[in-house]
């Protein structure tokens, strides 16, 4: 039975404001919670847009010899879909949750640099707007304007002026540059906040695992995003000032771009997936009613992943001719990263083992995450082996693998996070019934799409093809994959409806609807501007447990 404990908290009643005042408040805010929510809303808007693009792509590929889209529009769609999902959905939404939760979880009142925080958000948002402004540039919206068509990694020399005349590539470059500035700013802020603003008693060994993971991820951002930013500047110099960094006709190197891009690109996967791990670390223990298994091992695994992820980028380049030494090193490094990742999976399972598991919607999504992340990891091992990669590179198998990670793991973790923290952010509970519909439909749609997508890949279907001939054995697979995509879209609509409905009509959540243990639940839902009237003081990793069970506090067991 959950307990009820009185604590020192503060509530505030706010007078109703005019719309203009509300807009002013949000535009000028430096409050980490509002900035976090803005990040999340902006990412959700782009998620809907990029999801719509995915649907168009799947309509085009559902049947052979289809001309639903023109080849040029198709190229632009998958470029914009990929770029948007990575830079304007994945990173903002994760930083949005980080922004919102980290100060609350460490008992602080705000981020270390609130104004830098606002700047980081706005410059990232303007990056996204600039990317989509490309649709109205050049030949205008009807002809898809100057939208980039070089895919999300913009391989050189395709991006050189001679192959990409006009401004489409520039839109891509500048939007990524702006987003990179914002991302780096937020990472600086997160590191400074976690290292310097923890409440009294919160040593690094009592830091909740979510901030721990954001700390490592932010360091990873410093190392990984800088080469990408450098590459954007170099390609801009190539295109505008006639340099030849990546111009192979003039002595430049296309491989150099590959290195620059993937030294960002693969750690980027971990930049995206590690916060998802963080969500699991908070959600699984609460819904298993057990403390996380192996806290020190989880921290060590997180740090290890941070380091190892920096040494795996070239497994994207096995077919570029790295040589035997390079192939062996990057194969081994990629496989080694499965060790700390495996530790995490085992620890989550051990946390659930023997627990009193309650399959509320957040836990359902967390369980889905566990299964699918395991599947994604296994297909990753296949691709990390150079000989297999030579066979499967640039096939739909690769598309299936990375969507398995990005959707099956990260998006499921994000959905879990939404269901878990939505009550804290809005003060209202999301509907469990709609949540379960959302979960089961999404699971069905996900597996129909991405499990089956591996098959045409193995059968040799290349990625990025506009259409294909009938009778190659890909037809029915593609039809089923597209059907799965639409089921996912329906599930997502249910999720959006649930959020909107709950915002106005949802059950009032109260401060701690899940009987949780971390500090964000020690304040009202939603929290007041100052988070805590008096900064808290803690003596264990589960401060709310201590408060609810003074007869059996965690601090007696930690030393």
């Amino acid at each position: 039975m959950a307990t009820t404990t009185a604590v020192d908290l503060t509530s505030q009643t706010k007078p109703k404001k005019l719309l203009l005042q509300v807009a002013h408040d949000w535009l000028t805010t430096v409050d980490h919670k509002k900035i976090g929510i803005m990040y999340i809303v902006y990412a959700l808007v782009f998620l809907v847009i990029a999801g719509f693009m995915a649907m168009l792509i799947r309509i085009q590929l559902a049947v052979p010899n289809n001309h639903f889209l023109s080849p040029q529009v198709f190229n632009r769609l998958f470029t914009m879909h990929g770029t948007t999902m990575v830079f304007f959905v994945g990173m903002p939404i994760l930083f949005g949750f980080g922004n919102y939760l980290i100060p609350l979880m460490i008992g602080a009142r705000d981020m270390a640099f609130p104004r830098l925080n606002a700047f980081s958000f706005w410059i990232s948002a303007f990056g996204g707007i600039l990317l989509y402004y490309s649709y109205v540039g050049g030949s205008g919206l009807y002809g898809a304007g100057s939208a980039p068509d070089v895919s999300w990694w913009a391989y050189a020399p395709l991006t050189e002026k001679v192959f990409s005349p006009g401004h489409s590539t520039d839109y891509w470059t500048f939007s990524i540059l702006l987003s990179g500035i914002g991302t780096t700013g937020t990472a600086i802020n997160i590191v400074a906040t976690i290292l310097s603003m923890r409440c009294k008693g919160m040593t690094m060994t009592r830091l909740p695992l979510l901030p721990w993971i954001y700390l490592v991820t932010s360091f990873l951002v410093f190392v990984a995003v800088s080469p990408l930013t450098a590459a954007q500047i170099m390609i801009t110099i190539d295109r505008y000032l006639g340099a030849h960094f990546f111009d192979t006709q003039a002595g430049g190197s296309a491989i150099l771009w590959f290195h620059f891009f993937w030294i960002f690109g693969h750690p980027e996967v971990y930049i995206l997936v590690m916060p998802a791990f963080g969500f699991m670390n908070e959600i699984i223990p609460v819904f298993s009613r057990k403390a996380i298994f192996g806290y020190p091992a989880m921290v060590a695994a997180t740090v290890s992943i941070g380091f190892i992820s920096l040494s795996v980028w070239a497994h994207h380049m096995f077919i570029d001719g790295l040589g035997a030494g390079g192939n062996i090193f990057f194969t081994a490094a990629t496989m080694v990263i499965s060790v700390p990742t495996g530790i995490k999976i085992f620890n989550w399972l051990a946390t659930m083992w023997g627990g009193k598991i309650q399959f509320k919607t957040p836990m359902l999504f967390a369980t889905g995450f566990l299964f699918q992340f395991l599947g994604a990891g296994l297909t990753g091992i296949v691709l990390s082996s150079a000989p297999m990669d030579w066979q499967l590179n640039n096939t739909y198998f690769v598309v299936a693998h990375f969507h398995y990670v990005l959707v099956g793991a990260i998006l499921f973790a994000l959905f879990a996070a939404f269901y878990y923290w939505y009550p804290k952010m809005t003060g209202r509970m999301l509907s469990e019934r709609l949540g379960k519909w959302h979960f089961w439909l999404f699971v069905i749609g996900f597996h129909l799409t991405f499990d089956l997508m591996h098959v045409p890949g193995i059968l040799g279907m290349p990625r990025r093809i506009y259409t294909y001939e009938a009778g190659r054995g890909w037809d029915s697979w593609n039809m089923l994959v597209s059907a799965g995509g639409f089921i996912q879209a329906i599930a997502t609509v249910i999720f959006v409806v649930n959020m909107v409905w709950a915002f106005y009509r949802g059950r009032v959540a109260g401060p701690d609807p899940w009987d949780a243990w971390t500090l964000e639940w020690a304040t009202t839902s939603p929290p007041p501007d100052y988070n805590f009237a008096v900064p808290p003081s803690i003596s264990s990793r589960r401060p709310l447990w201590d408060l609810k069970h003074p007869e059996d506090v965690d601090s007696h067991y930690e030393y």
């Binding site: 020192d8 403390a291 298994f293 023997g354 900064p535």
Partner: protein
């Protein structure tokens, strides 16, 4: 208010509650303007130069405005705090499963579950591995004798995994005695036996009900399945020549003997049983009493 005191402390600035206000960074439009200015400066390169000029015009005042916000003193705004007692409440009911009745002990009377209560020492696994490794050689030798009329064939085959030059050698060559083959085969076999023995020592306490079934049959089947799928990568030479029927018989022999030896040993109480802290540091506890049924039976 006592709980309040336990939870909270003065943050040292002295303005938290005593004045009824909290000082927070003042809202400002300048970060937004600066971001817009920087974005427009770049956007001008793909649209029109006038946009870049507009961007630069926004960047300069934004920098000055931001500077004024934080120098000489960071601008704050007071936010009123009305302190009151708010209960941390939850409507969430956690269903507790019926618990087996067991004899009270230090581990079961508390709120927390500590697992495992007992385990084997590290060397028990090593002992089991050595015993199992010796036992495994018997069916292997019988197989060598029956099929190749030599007890050396299995060990040479094992050693061939480490000698690439032996890949093309005939069965007759592998049936002969080779000192290097014996040493290499012994090293590989000893290493893997001890390693698997350690694994047995670690996992057997988790399956206390039918240790012989677990150790003697189920674990070897899993182990063989794993090897069956991966041996082609680990040792193609071994994979090409291995006889899986005899291999699994050897594995059963290993499992039965190793499991038997391990189960003969006395279990020791884990450090977390003796002094709970390590258990909690490792996260091995729950929030309500629950006891492993089998351990409960043993305690009886």
């Amino acid at each position: 208010m006592s709980e309040r005191a336990a939870m909270a402390h003065n943050d040292g600035t002295g303005h938290a509650e005593s004045e009824g206000f909290v000082q927070l960074p003042a809202p400002t439009i300048w970060p937004l303007i600066l971001a817009l200015g920087v974005s427009l400066s770049l956007a001008g390169l793909v649209t029109h130069w006038a946009i870049t000029v507009l961007g630069v015009c926004l960047v300069l005042p934004a920098i000055v405005g931001w500077f004024v916000q934080i120098f000489p003193h960071e601008r704050h705004e007071p936010v009123a705090v009305s302190t009151q007692i708010v209960p941390i409440s939850t409507e969430w009911i956690v269903h507790v499963r019926p618990q087996p009745e067991i004899e009270p002990s230090a581990a079961t009377t508390g709120r927390r579950q500590v697992l495992p209560l007992e385990s084997y020492s590290l060397f028990v696994g090593v002992k089991g591995g050595i015993a199992g490794g010796i036992a495994m050689t018997v069916p292997a030798a019988i197989f060598g004798l029956l099929k190749y009329h030599s007890v050396w064939y299995p060990i040479n085959l094992l050693a061939a995994g480490g000698f690439v030059s032996w890949a093309s050698e005939s069965d007759a060559f592998l049936a002969q005695f080779h000192l290097y083959g014996l040493l290499a085969g012994f090293a590989i076999h000893a290493f893997s036996s001890v390693l698997v023995g350690l694994l047995y020592g670690a996992i057997l306490p988790m399956f206390p009900r039918r240790p012989i079934l677990t150790a003697g049959f189920i674990a070897p089947l899993f182990w063989t399945g794993l090897l069956y799928t991966s041996l082609g990568i680990l040792s193609p030479i071994l994979d090409a020549r291995i006889n899986w029927l005899w291999f699994i018989v050897s594995q059963f022999a290993f499992g039965l003997v190793a499991g038997f030896v391990v189960n003969l040993q006395v279990r020791v109480r884990t450090p977390q049983f003796r002094a709970l802290p390590f258990a909690v540091r490792a996260g091995l506890h729950t929030d309500a009493p629950r006891v492993d049924e089998s351990l409960g039976d043993k305690n009886k």
